[in-house]
């Protein structure tokens, strides 16, 4: 029982990341009809926004300390971050410590700009081309973005810790009467789950309760008619692309303390997120979210020793097995609509 609870909790944060990426993917697919393989790279760029802000805040000036020596025996240079010099060691130190949450604010304009440039600069020209062309060009774009990040940040993962207050884990077991240390869950992962819930709620409310959202939903249902009504639906869809990029970017920022960012992390998430979108149903937002959490939790279950001892290697294929079963029984995915990608 405790092991099951533990893996449900565990699956939630992974599921949150899948759901956030898949939400953006399906938003882009639903509005623009583009299969965006560069979406994982956007998640990765988001994570690197956290790295970048943490580096900017840690920018330091050097002073020579004659009492110490460096590895070559020369007088050592002592680095003091500018923010600590400007705002005092306490507040400056706190700013550096809180770099990841602060990076959310930093990332939103950057990610919207990245989304705009990608959509206007490249993807726009492929709207009328077959899906295969779109997949090729966005996949190529993902590789280019990945290599650009590697050029500037190197290939090794970069440690980007969460603020000190979120260190350690919460003992759920003790709260529900289990033995101590049996069901523990790191604080930052709880933050991540709550954050994902808020973002997903915000996106749904935006689409549901605003005029802009209503027009976008109308455009997703029947783009041509909305256009005939004199509404510039393309501009709105471009904004949605920016929004989807911002959602994936924020997901990346908050994920940086869980998984030290490296240039390849986007690709790792992309394939799974696509499975999530397909399982949830192409173009269905609630489907993407539900499938994200479902597959995240199932993946966690599959890596339990008890299950692995029955079916070795199941942890690596569970998602695809579930995808096959769901697509065989429900060919449009969990919540897919008739007519999407079926013309």
């Amino acid at each position: 029982m405790d092991a099951i609870l533990l893996q449900v909790l565990n699956g939630l944060d992974k599921g949150s990341a899948y759901a956030l990426i898949a939400l953006g993917l399906t938003l882009i697919f639903g509005t623009l009809g583009v299969v965006n393989f560069a979406h994982g790279a956007i998640f990765m760029i988001g994570a690197f926004c956290a790295v970048t802000l943490s580096r900017i805040l840690s920018l330091s000036f050097e002073t020579i300390d004659p009492t110490k020596v460096d590895f070559l025996g020369n007088p050592a240079t002592i680095k003091t971050p500018y923010v600590e010099a400007w705002f005092g060691p306490e507040f400056g130190g706190a700013l550096i410590d809180w770099a990841v949450p602060l990076a959310i604010l930093f990332s939103i304009p950057i990610m919207i700009a990245v989304g705009f440039i990608m959509e206007r600069g490249l993807i726009k020209h492929f709207y009328k081309r077959p899906h295969a062309d779109q997949i090729l060009v966005t996949f190529g774009l993902a590789i280019v973005l990945q290599e650009v990040i590697k050029y500037f940040y190197g290939a090794n993962p970069i440690s980007t810790p969460a603020p000190e207050v979120f260190k350690g884990s919460f003992d759920f077991g003790a709260m529900f009467g289990f033995d101590p240390n049996v069901i523990i869950y790191p604080y930052w992962r709880m933050v991540y789950f709550l954050f994902a819930a808020v973002v997903i709620g915000a996106v749904f409310s935006f689409l549901r309760f605003t005029t802009f959202g209503m027009v976008v939903r109308a455009g997703m249902a029947d783009r041509e008619t909305v256009g005939l009504l004199g509404i510039d639906i393309d501009r709105r869809f471009t904004i949605m692309f920016g929004l989807a990029a911002a959602v994936a970017g924020m997901a990346g920022v908050m994920y940086a303390p869980i998984l030290s960012p490296n240039y390849h992390m986007g690709m790792d998430f992309l394939v799974l997120s696509f499975v999530v979108v397909v399982v949830g149903g192409m173009g269905s937002l609630p489907g993407a979210v539900a499938a994200g959490f479902l597959l995240g939790v199932l993946e966690s279950f599959a890596s339990m020793n008890e299950i692995k001892s029955i079916i070795p290697g199941i942890d690596q294929i569970i998602i695809y097995v579930v995808a096959i079963i769901i697509l065989l029984t429900r060919p449009r995915g969990l919540l897919g609509k008739r007519g999407v990608m079926e013309e």
């Binding site: 405790d2 092991a3 533990l6 893996q7 909790l9 565990n10 699956g11 944060d13 992974k14 110490k68 460096d70 590895f71 070559l72 050592a76 590697k150 190197g154 290939a155 090794n156 993962p157 970069i158 440690s159 810790p161 969460a162 260190k167 350690g168 884990s169 240390n181 049996v182 523990i184 790191p186 930052w188 992962r189 303390p257 869980i258 998984l259 030290s260 490296n262 390849h264 992390m265 790792d268 993946e299 966690s300 890596s303 339990m304 020793n305 692995k308 942890d315 690596q316």
Partner: protein, 447 residues
């Protein structure tokens, strides 16, 4: 329908002529030279096969820096580095046997097939007489096999699996780097002193050659001193988020977590473990501990503060204070502005050891080089007195047990040396069961 002018008989004739034509140059070369890529001009080409892309690209870049430094020193440039401290004085700073050293590089991408292709291309197209490098045991074993077939020497880089000089050993392959058995032999007594002999260990292991041999070695060494192994869990290479593997650890009754991971996997699994607060927990009335048997400074940097207080082993560290290490750090640090990694150190040593063996053997013939390296005892390369054992082509030398520093003074100052384990303590018989199953075979000069 179009009529083809090609008849069966015609085709046979053409193929026979073409085949003879293609074979002709090989017949001539094999007559002219006794071994593959005999350098006949005033230069000799070495092939540096390192990951320039992929997950280990940073290690590859550091290896390449060290190779370039070694070539510079062999050709008489720079301050000479460890050539000045090396116990063998056969090298004179005029290249190798008077031939200027040149090099070509290949990108292994940390993939066995890509590594074999780039090594093959360097041997066949660029005329490399020796291949060296690698940042993964899978790659090293694959390239070692290729070099054996092609008839060139392979000087292994960063490869820690027992198999490289165990069941997959080859007569043309040589390893300076230490291995999983040695890590275990060096770590076990230190762990016993620190954590006692009544401990329960939980292993998370990268699911490939290196991970398996390290798990086997560490489990055997710790069980021998009284520890229990509670569970051994294999994790897929590049799993990313290890939380679902870490979460059950506390529940298992284990009080030590052994992470048989390297590279990005090590960074992520260690970060996850620390995030779960494992190190702040008490299990069985003892503090929960984490061990990372193979440490690398480049990886420690990725894991940041999470490495503090965690023990592991390493082949070499720049803070060693012997003359050779100091000379190498000075040389490397002056040229590049930061201290070298253990990967840089081992490949620099391998290049010098190869060049020295050629000089002592008086020939680039792989068999002569192999003979010069087999049983070769040397000193002055930063690891103390070292033996290149003839039985398996493995170097036997001191092993460092290190700990992540609590208060690093710079971004390089991440590990501190806890103990230098003498070579005798990590030496094993050549027929040890963990290394059984393969044979060196005969050296292959190729051509």
């Amino acid at each position: 329908m179009s009529n083809s002018l090609l008849t069966r008989r015609g085709l046979l004739k053409t193929s026979a002529v073409a085949g003879a034509g293609l074979a002709l140059p090989t017949i001539f070369t094999s007559g002219a030279s006794a071994f593959t890529n005999d350098p006949t001009g005033s230069t000799v080409t070495l092939g540096f096969n390192v990951p320039q892309s992929g997950a280990y690209a940073d290690e590859g870049a550091d290896e390449l820096r060290a190779y370039e430094l070694a070539v510079e020193h062999l050709n008489g440039g720079g301050d000479g580095g460890m050539l000045n401290t090396f116990s063998s004085k056969a090298l004179e700073g005029n290249g190798i046997l008077g031939k200027k050293v040149e090099f070509v590089t290949g990108d292994t991408q940390t993939k066995s097939d890509a590594a074999r292709a780039s090594a093959k291309s360097m041997i066949e197209k660029d005329g490399a007489v020796m291949i060296t490098g690698g940042s993964s045991s899978g790659v090293a074993i694959a390239v070692q096999g290729l070099c054996q077939e092609a008839g060139v020497i392979f000087m292994a880089g960063l490869t820690h699996s027992n198999d490289t000089t165990g069941k997959d050993k080859k007569a043309n392959g040589f390893r300076h780097f230490f291995n999983a058995y040695m890590s275990a032999a060096a770590l076990a007594p230190v762990l016993k002193n620190l954590y006692g002999s009544d401990r329960k260990a939980y292993h998370l292991t990268a699911d490939y050659s290196w991970g398996w041999t390290q798990e086997e070695s560490i489990a055997a060494a710790t069980e021998a001193m009284g520890w229990q192994t509670v569970e051994k869990v294999r994790t897929p290479l590049g799993a990313g988020d290890f939380s679902s593997y870490i979460a059950p650890v506390l529940n298992s009754g284990a009080d030590v977590l052994v992470l048989n991971h390297y590279g990005g996997d090590m960074v992520n699994s260690l970060t996850n473990a620390v995030q779960f607060g494992l190190r702040d927990k008490q299990v069985n009335g003892k503090n929960f501990e984490i061990v990372v048997p193979l440490y690398s400074r480049l990886m420690a940097r990725g894991a940041g503060k999470n490495v503090a207080g965690i023990h592991g082993s390493t082949n070499w560290h720049w803070s060693l204070q012997d003359d050779a290490s100091k000379a190498f750090v000075k040389s490397f640090g002056t040229k590049y502005g930061f201290p070298p990694s253990q990967a840089a150190h081992t490949v620099y040593c391998q290049t010098l050891l190869y060049a020295d063996a050629v000089a002592r053997g008086g020939s680039f013939n792989p068999c002569a080089v192999g003979e010069a390296l087999e049983g070769f005892e040397f000193d002055g390369l930063g690891n103390g007195p070292t033996l290149y054992r003839a039985d398996d082509h493995q170097c036997f030398k001191d092993v460092l047990v290190v700990r992540g520093k609590e208060n690093p003074t710079s971004e390089f100052d991440l590990l501190e040396i806890v103990e230098v384990t003498p070579a005798a303590q990590v030496t094993y018989p050549a027929d040890h069961p963990m290394f059984a199953g393969g044979a060196l075979g005969a050296c292959n000069p190729g051509a």
